[in-house]
Each structure stands twice: as C-alpha cells, then as structure tokens.
Subunit: 363 residues, 2 copies
C-alpha cells in the first residue's frame, strides 16, 4: 500500500525499519515478538516506520531459521494430495487437525505426495514442526522420510512400528463387532474392502487364503470380519473379500452387482466404508433384492449419507482423532488415549439390530 517508489516489490528489512524509526534492529524485533518489552513510545515510532515503509513483519524464513520453529504442522497423505478433498472421511479428519492448528496459531501444510521417489525430498523440505501421517501402507517410503526428519510425528490408524505413535481405533475389534451384526443369519457373507497394497489391484479372495496385506487398516478390518465369521462357528473359506481399488460408491456398486448377479451370490455384505456400502445398496436395488431380508449391508464411519440410507455402520470420530493427532504432533500434552472409541450404529440394513442399537468399544 505505502511501499516507497523505486523498489516496488522489494520487501523492506527490519534493519531499514529500525533506521527509519531511529532505533536499533533489536527494538524493532521486540516490537513484533515481545511488545511488552519496549516502551509505548518506541513501539509507536517503530509501528509508524513500518507502516510508512510497508514492512509486513519479520520475514518468516529468517524467523524460522533463527528460532528453530517453523510455525506449521505437516500433514502427509499417502495419496495424491487432492485425495484429501475427495474423500469425506479424510476431510473429517483434516477438519479435526485444522481445528487444533487454528487454536494453536500454527499453519497447516499439506505435503504433496505423487508416488514418485521425490516424495521423500518433499517431506524433508517441508517447513514444519511435526508431521501427521494419514494411514498408509506398511512399506510406504514416506514413513522413513518422516522419521528421518527427526521431527515429532504420529501416524493415524497405522502402520505401527518405526517409533511413531499410532492413533486410531481398534479396527480388528470394531470389525468383529459390526461383522457380527452384518453376518447374523447369513450363509454367504462378503466383505467389500479397501486395497491390499499400493498397487491397488482388484481381487476376490476367500477367508482361508493367506495373503499379504500392506495396508494395516485393510488387514485389521479383514481380520476382524473373519473373527466375527469364524467365531460364529463357520469355516473361513466361506467368507469372501472383494477388494475395491478405489473407495468410491460406483466401485462398490460395480463389484457388488457382479457378485449378486453371479452364481453363489452373497446374502450379507460388510463394507469397509459407507461409500462402498452405499454402492452395495444400489446394487441390491438394481438386482431387486430386499434389504435386509435378502441382503444385509453394513458400512463404516457413519458419514452423513449413512443415516438417510438407514445404513447400519460403525461410528468413530475421525474429527476427534484428527485433533488428537495434531496435538500430539505439535508436542502438546493430551489426555486422550491412543485408542479411540467406536460404536456400532444399528439401523435398518441389517437383520438383527442390536437391542440397544449400540455396541461400544475403546481400549
């Protein structure tokens, strides 16, 4: 606004402001960092000079360098960056993270991940004070890049190991609980699930096949669903897992349709997300099946779309978990337990609603 003519886009330095105000640079510095440290008179002179010169305040990089703090929290998503804004669950989680950032007055830096080897460099070069890593695969190289920075870091929902605290729910126990509801009275159950690894290929597996699952979330939920089925006295081989490469409603619809219209169609579908579950409901409607009589369906996350659809689902507060992760990554004390609560919300897409409508869990 009031930048002096001659150097139109040049940002003035603190020294220049000091010179114009007739004080030392340190006084200017204190005006910005510890206003109570300087006299009102001196502060006024400095502020006037700053306004005159159009000084926007201390240079962020210089301040960061000298102070040793960046003033921002890094968030790493294992996927393309825009994923965060496409996936409503990731968005919820980020809302929790951003709540904390706003309260603490720190920025929120999303580290762009593309899948290329350069991702590690991006992590290393991020000007942040800590990292929150959104759930990813066991072998994701950015995890090493994060630990190598030496900055405080937390992982949401796994993988474990590498010395980083993991914050989330007990996915296996939760899956066992909702699996019990989903599979009640079923003879041919199906799990509609997330990818096994970062290759994101389509699969159809049975419960007795040993298979390497690199995504801990997928693995834990699958184990939980299998627990639910086998603990009811059924053979693991009867349980199938349909792996959807992408967490999207159409993906769930397509895969579910295929199976429902094939020989040996499922009569119960437990999905790892509400999106996939809603796809299954669409497929059921298309196939003319009655829900829950012909087909029981459960989702996961209790998103906004679940209630209107009457979807039985597993509720967890991703927003709280995001907030918790942020606080932890910023080194703030937190009283929350690493294992968050969850509960089964029984609605109308399953055969035997829990008597109370709710099954809870925590750790």
């Amino acid at each position: 606004m009031n930048r002096p003519a001659g150097n139109p886009k040049q940002r003035p330095t603190m020294r220049q402001v000091a010179l114009a105000a007739g004080v030392s640079p340190m006084t200017v510095s204190y005006v910005y960092s510890q206003p109570e440290r300087v006299s009102a008179e001196a502060a006024a002179k400095v502020r006037a000079a700053a306004l005159e010169l159009g000084y926007p305040g201390p240079h962020p990089a210089a301040r960061s360098l000298r102070r040793g703090r960046a003033g921002s929290l890094g968030v790493v998503l294992g996927e393309r960056l825009s994923y965060a804004f496409d996936d409503p669950q990731a968005a919820r989680f980020l809302a929790g993270v951003s709540d904390v950032c706003a309260a603490e007055g720190v920025g929120l830096t999303l580290v762009p991940i593309t899948g290329a080897p350069s991702d590690a460099q991006r992590v290393a070069q991020a000007a942040v004070d800590g990292f929150v890593v959104w759930t990813t695969s066991d072998d994701d190289p950015v995890l090493d890049a994060v630990t190598d920075t030496g900055l405080p870091a937390v992982v949401h929902a796994g993988p474990h190991g590498r010395g980083m605290p993991v914050i989330g729910i007990d996915d296996r126990a939760a899956a066992a609980a909702i699996g019990q509801v989903a599979f009640a009275g079923a003879r041919r159950p199906l799990v509609l699930g997330f990818p096994l690894d970062r290759s994101r290929t389509r699969h159809l597996l049975t419960g007795d096949e040993p298979v390497g699952m690199k995504f801990p979330v997928t693995r834990h939920r699958w184990e939980g669903f299998r627990d639910a089925w086998t603990h009811a006295g059924h053979p693991a081989a009867d349980l199938r897992l349909a792996v959807c490469p992408v967490n999207h409603i159409t993906e769930g619809e397509t895969f579910a349709s295929e199976l429902l219209e094939g020989t040996d169609p499922p009569d119960a579908i437990a999905a790892m997300s509400d999106e996939l579950a809603l796809g299954a409901l669409r497929a059921a409607a298309r196939a003319g099946l009655r829900v829950p009589d012909d087909l029981a369906v459960t989702g996961w996350d209790d998103s906004d779309t679940a209630a209107p659809a009457g979807l039985t689902t597993l509720a967890q507060s991703l927003r709280d978990q995001g907030a918790h992760c942020a606080r932890a990554a910023l080194g703030r004390p937190t009283r929350a337990a690493a294992r968050h609560e969850w509960h089964v919300v029984a609605r109308t897409t399953t055969r035997r609603p829990n008597t109370t409508g709710v099954t809870d869990g925590a750790a």
Copy 2:
C-alpha cells in the same frame, strides 16, 4: 534411523556432513540442489556421509531464507480453517489448488483464520510464495494483510479491487440465467441466500430495499436473480431474499419451512447453493407441496447430491477455478480466462426445463 548416539534429536548440519565426507560444504549443497554439478564419486561420498549421520537434507528455513522462495502456496479462507473441510464446494476448490501444488512440487499451506485481529499476523508470518484467497467480504482485513506481504495473490470470486486479480464466474449473469428458469411462471419468488456480511445475521428482505451487502458473491447473485425477475416485467418488491447465516441444508430447510407455512408462501425458490436448495426441497416435502408444480427450486454448484435429487442447478467447475487460482498465485503462465464458464443444468425441480437442458455462459 542411523543418528549417532549422544545427540539423539539434534539435526545434523550440512557442515557436519561435509566434514564427514571430506568435502566442502558447497559440494554437499550441490549434491542436493544440482546433482549434475558434482562428480559421481563426490556425490557418493556425500550421500554415504548423509546416511551415516542421518542428515535429512537442507534445512528448509535456511534454504528458504537464502533462496528467497518458500516452496509453498498459501490459501486463506475467510472462515475458520475447518470450514474448508465442511463445505463441499470449498473442498472442490481446494482439490483443484492441490492438484497444481502437487504438479509443481510445492506445498499447500492453509493459513488459520479465527476472526481475531491476530489473523493479519498469521498471514504476514506464513512461509509461502503466494496467496489464494477464497471468496470473502469486501471489508475483510486479511485482504490488506495479504496485499501488504507484496506476494503474488489472487482472489476467488471477489471482492474486486486492491490490485488482486479475481478469478471466478460472472455470478450476476449466471444468477440471471438460472433465475429465469427458477422464476418461470412464478408469482411469489424467493431467493435463499448467503449472509450479507461477516456478522452472519438472519434477514428477510425484498427486492426494492437498498441494502449493503459486503459479500460480493451474495451481492452479485442477488442482483442477477433480481435482474431475472424484473426483466420479466415484475416489480422488484415482489422478490424476497431469505438470508441464511450458514450454508447448511438444515438452515435452508428451516427458513423455507417457515415461509412455506406462513401467509404468502413462495411458489419458486432460487437458492445460492445446492445445500440450501436441498433444504428447500425437504421443506416442500414436509409441507406436502408438489415440485415443481407447487414450488420450483433451483440450486447452485451442481454438487454430487444435486443429480440424484433431480435438482436444477447452476454448474461451474470449482476445481478448475482452484487450479487456475493456484497457477496464477504461483506466477505460472496460464491460458485460462479470469472469467470461467458456467451453465444451467435443468432437471426436474423446475417448471420449464430449457429446451436443450443447458444454458451456457462465460466471458
């Protein structure tokens, strides 16, 4: 991982790596910034030493300071930070921004806005190379804070002025176009709109009342809707504007219900968002009204929920606009026009669908 015992959390410096590798610091610097500038032999020594010491690469703040670039793009949302993740339209826009950031290898820093005076400081202290400002009010003080940084900046959808380019659609023309569809055959039209200013108070106005609207988006759309009504030969006083403080479906439902159940109920509702429009549809269902016969409804943005609801709406690509804003704020050349395209998508909630189903606009 391989950090030497003794200084467990201390990040090694480039000088230390140089010492360990038996080369000069400059050589180490070149290994990271211009690998082709050093011999393979020297590079190998440096990489080995870096691995040994657990050197994560150049310190971001130091690098930024010296190079004069931060390597990140700042995004300012006029609201609380978590707003971005609650509002699906903001999320779409951010997805476009993040696409560009990922492609350009720069981070995406969300500047936390709380409404407090300290917001200006946060903007000034953000370590970024440019700003994208999500549409806000004319008198939002963060706009001045952004211009004061002297960094390249663009505003999405207004306000104009302050020397920052504005990227978006012609809201007034677009509103006039969809208003024509919404109000066709109507006698008592209503606009369901956004807040007038940052105070976010509830209002009910008529088209002949002069009123100060601080949000340019609200103002332009309202003017466009009024154009549609008056150009059809009706008196402005017959058009009403119901101001919803928050862009949420329940907000639209509540206000619409109130009016539909009152005396002089509207027979056409043009909403400034799909969320508000869906609220109006719910209110209509509750009131037992037939859509579009008893009540025509239009939305804005063509969000994912619009098509299933058969909602006539105004489509624009916020994702493209976000990408465009990001490129502009990073100083990248762009061939896109500042005025983006829009079109009316006529579905079943309006009385006279456009013959082609589509009305286009750009500038």
